[in-house]
């Protein structure tokens, strides 16, 4: 089984100036959305209100959840607390606060089960405080530094800059899309974002690897031509891998329920953005910085014989 014709010849690199413009527009728009609209942070980051409710008999949590959801408390987290008769509910700050909120919640629950009894109402702080967020951001910076050094060492520093630029691009654009469509950003989405970085990095290195190989193997052709050839050669692989990953993610979006949806959507956005960036950010940046054959080809030895291919 094969979806592809023998030789795919799509001229990716002639469009790279136009693509660079598109990238710039995407970045500016994303940063704009992030600064002016901001992310809709989830309970993990903002804290909220905790309501503890007691029942005389064990209560079905699914029922409590759907009752709350029907009343408009979408992001409520419902857990048993000590026994199956005590329920802890955490609500996001946008649900309201204070007595008004607890009374409204209690009324909602009583409408469904008259025995519900309010035990306590309290404010809860964020799970991820400023300190943790700061440390997380630093960790990400260090990780980028590590990638930069390794890729510079294994390939060339211009490739390293391209790879890191692609990662930064993916994070900013994915977050920008989140801000634009107003989806809740919580810890699960953060994990998905880290996964996107991993995926996009993988994609970028795979393309770079072929570029490096072709720089050595293919004698004729300019750097953009060889880059183009490499991207075309890797196209079947790129599409198959994206397809299998998207298969899993689409199943998650369609069947995984509310909680996994945010996670899966982030990854879907990330896979698309990441595939784009490995071609038009990573490779374009490396070319734009003037990477050439000489940077990767070891000086030829006398009498050495090697395969010769024409693009």
């Amino acid at each position: 089984m094969n979806f592809f014709k023998r030789d795919i010849q799509i001229d990716f690199m002639t469009h790279r100036i136009r693509a660079a413009l598109l990238t710039a527009v995407l970045m500016v728009a994303s940063l704009g959305f992030l600064f002016f609209r901001g992310l809709d942070l989830g309970l993990d980051f903002t804290g909220g209100t905790l309501v503890e409710v007691g029942y005389p008999q064990a209560v079905d949590l699914g029922q409590v959840r759907s009752t709350l959801e029907a009343a408009g408390y979408d992001d409520a987290i419902v857990q048993t607390f000590g026994s199956a008769r005590d329920v802890m509910i955490r609500l996001a700050p946008n649900a309201g606060a204070g007595d008004a909120l607890s009374n409204a919640v209690l009324d909602t629950l009583r409408a469904d089960n008259a025995d519900a009894e309010l035990r306590r109402v309290e404010f809860v702080g964020p799970q991820v405080g400023e300190e943790l967020a700061e440390k997380g951001g630093l960790a990400l910076l260090y990780a980028l530094g590590g990638i930069l050094i390794y890729v510079a060492f294994r390939f060339e520093y211009r490739f390293a800059i391209g790879a890191v630029a692609a990662v930064v691009h993916d994070v900013v654009v994915t977050l920008g899309i989140f801000a634009a469509i107003g989806m809740t950003f919580d810890l699960t989405v953060l994990a998905a974002l880290l996964a996107v970085i991993g995926y996009s990095l993988n994609d970028t290195i795979v393309v770079f690897d072929r570029v490096r190989e072709n720089f050595v193997r293919v004698r004729k052709g300019s750097a953009p031509e060889i880059t183009n050839l490499s991207i075309n050669q890797m196209l079947p692989r790129t599409l198959v891998t994206s397809l299998t990953t998207l298969l899993v993610l689409l199943a998650l979006v369609a069947l995984g329920g509310e909680l996994i949806r945010g996670f899966a959507l982030t990854l879907i956005i990330g896979v698309l953005v990441g595939t784009y960036s490995s071609i038009y950010v990573a490779s374009s940046a490396a070319l734009g910085l003037g990477v050439s054959k000489e940077d990767l080809v070891p000086p030829p030895k006398e009498g050495e014989d090697s395969d010769e291919l024409v693009p």
């Binding site: 692989r237 993610l249 329920g257």
Partner: protein
């Protein structure tokens, strides 16, 4: 010819078989349990064990099983409710020599446990865990803050040459008496511009006239908030030192902190460490009264205080504290090579070190004492209700003659056991609490994600996985089947590795697994596309397999090593969920390289390796 040496096949079989074995414990569930430790012996004696079972039988609480280990006794119970009731009852009846902690014990069969097989922990979001509510005593911090001002006031007034009669502190206020109103006004002029965070109030109606100072409301809030934040940081450090992955530590209300731990192995120790208030104070021994000959009820001379010694007896110490645990920057437990006793090696901060050397400079030959200070919570039953009250335990654990001027490094001895030395050094390392706090509530807590959601999510993962398997078999035929087998082995290995490492699996962790599954497939896609390229370029069967694997290897290695570097850095510098994600990702990368490269190659060699002219089904 493509043949693998026998040892590679054996390696594969052994790794995958042990993977299956260590993944197996996850099939079994968990029981609600209680973990009981005795402060001295660890595990309660057989007689005490019988007593514990009898106490519970008297309350109609059925015990499913008792399992004594070296460190503790584990009681398995039928339900979470029975667990809470049993915990309350035992805490009251057993007294302060015991720690009773809630736990979830895996119901892995004995033979598997003997082989070291344990299930991986599911995180707070998937399984729930143990929930502690800590009450921070913010009033104590306010008192502390005010009494700090009293020292500063004294010094400032002395320097400004303004005489005062006395300084009193209490109930959050500071009160200075002056001989005359003029002196009071002078003092007020000197103090007010220096302390904008204080509200001054001159009371001239009393004799002698008094100047009173209280913290402004803003400042009180600031001090309270700072204390709660500082305690949260300390708690976080303590929990990290315990090695518990993915805890939740958050503020609740004004002055309480929630600590939630997912399936911790040793909840009794966790509870001791979280609730511990232990700190150290270094004080000089009163030279005129050493050794102390008076009784415990005698009035100590002015400027001194009487303390009990751990070994028995009493000692008179000077009131002034040289330094407290705050000044300690590092503490490591160790063993004294000469006496074989446990000790804690201490390093002080620069400021602490210079205070220490200044004080000890002129006191060579005198004695210094280390006071161990701890607030313990004791449960009693009053009118049928369980009441917990705090008792401050202060004892001198060590008195040593100062041989020479001390600096920023020294050690303390006199600890009961290696465990105590380790716990003390952990607490000192984690930083001190800005305010005393106690556990006021302990419960088990259900998963924050609904069971329905978890089931839905798992079903979706399974279906997504099935789609990938179907696609691979359809698109790459026989080689697709190889990839699918490798994928299955990969999942088993990831689960086994997480179980052996006792990692905590959360939803973000599952994200890591999904990504690695995607990347594992990618490795095979790279190899198979390469083989197709080789075949198109005219290579024969064997050469195509050889070249496909050989050339794809460097690509896969580079891509995976780059991601692995990112994962390792995220693990080293990240916290909480980021760390959890990094662990699953790293394990996934290593195991997917193993299965997707070595595993599928072994299968390809077995099926096609010996057939020279065979057409590859790819």
């Amino acid at each position: 010819m493509n043949r693998y040496p026998l040892w590679k096949y054996i390696l594969l079989v052994v790794v995958i078989a042990s993977g299956c074995l260590y993944a197996l414990p996850n099939v079994f569930g968990q029981d609600p349990a209680l973990q009981i430790t005795n402060a001295d012996s660890g595990v309660p004696s057989p007689r005490e064990q019988t007593r514990i079972v009898e106490i519970l039988a008297g309350q109609d609480i059925a015990v499913r099983g008792t399992e004594p280990t070296d460190e503790h006794l584990l009681l398995r119970l039928a339900s979470a409710q029975a667990q809470t009731r049993a915990a309350d009852e035992l805490e009251v009846r057993l007294g302060r020599d015991y720690t009773v902690a809630l736990n979830l014990a895996p119901s892995t069969p004995g033979w598997l446990r003997n082989l070291g097989g344990q299930p991986m922990y599911l995180g707070l979001d998937l399984r729930g865990g143990v929930h502690f509510l800590m009450q921070v005593d913010t009033q104590a911090v306010l008192e502390q803050t005010v009494s700090r001002y009293s020292d500063e006031f004294r010094r400032l007034l002395r320097e400004a040459d303004i005489r005062y009669r006395d300084v009193r502190t209490g109930e959050g206020r500071l009160s200075l008496a002056f001989a005359s109103q003029e002196r009071l006004d002078q003092a007020l002029d000197a103090l007010r511009p220096e302390y904008l965070e204080l509200e001054f109030n001159a009371n001239n109606d009393v004799t002698p006239p008094r100047l009173e100072a209280v913290l402004t409301d803003d400042e009180r809030t600031k001090v309270r908030n700072f204390a709660v934040e500082q305690n949260m940081t300390t708690l976080r450090n303590r929990v990290n030192e315990l090695g518990v992955a993915e805890p939740v530590i958050q503020r609740q209300g004004l002055d309480r902190i929630v600590v939630q731990l997912p399936g911790v192995q040793d909840t009794a120790r966790a509870k001791d460490i979280i609730g511990a208030t232990a700190t150290l104070e270094f004080r000089m021994v009163d030279a005129g009264n050493f050794p102390y000959r008076g009784g415990p009820d005698a009035t100590p001379p002015p400027g001194t205080e009487l303390f009990p010694e751990r070994e028995g007896g009493y000692v008179l110490l000077e009131r002034e504290i040289i330094i407290t645990g705050d000044a300690i920057t590092d503490a490591q437990s160790g063993i004294d090579t000469q006496t074989g006793q446990s000790e804690v090696n201490i390093r002080l901060s620069g400021a602490g070190g210079s205070i220490m050397s200044r004080v000890t400079q002129n006191r060579v030959g005198d004695h210094m004492a280390v006071v161990f200070k701890e607030t313990e919570l004791q449960a009693r039953r009053v009118n049928g209700e369980v009441v917990r009250e705090q008792v401050v335990v202060e004892e001198v654990i060590n008195i040593a003659r100062i041989q020479e001027q001390l600096g920023s490094r020294f050690r303390i001895t006199g600890l009961d056991s290696g465990q105590e030395a380790r716990d003390l050094s952990l607490l000192l390392r984690a930083g001190s609490l800005a305010a005393p706090m106690q556990i006021v509530e302990e419960r088990t807590i259900g998963p924050s994600l609904g069971q329905e959601n978890i089931n839905q999510g798992l079903a979706a993962v399974v279906i997504g996985f099935a789609l990938v398997v179907a696609f691979m078999a359809f698109y790459y035929r026989v080689f697709g089947l190889f990839a699918n087998l490798a994928l299955l082995a990969n999942l088993v290995l990831i689960v086994a590795a997480l179980s052996v490492l006792q990692a905590t699996l959360t939803l973000p962790g599952i994200a890591g697994i999904v990504l690695t599954v995607g990347m594992a497939v990618d490795a095979n896609v790279l190899i198979f596309e390469r083989i197709r390229e080789e075949i198109r370029a005219g290579s024969n069967t064997q050469k195509a397999i050889e070249a496909g694997y050989g050339k794809a290897l460097s690509t896969i290695a580079d891509a995976n090593v780059t991601t692995l570097i990112a994962a390792v850095v995220l693990f080293a510098f990240g916290t909480g969920p980021i760390k959890g994600f990094a662990v699953t990702l790293s394990i996934g990368i290593v195991s997917s390289m193993f299965t997707a490269i070595l595993g599928t190659r072994a299968l390809a060699n077995l099926v096609y390796g010996a057939r020279r002219g065979a057409r590859l089904s790819i």
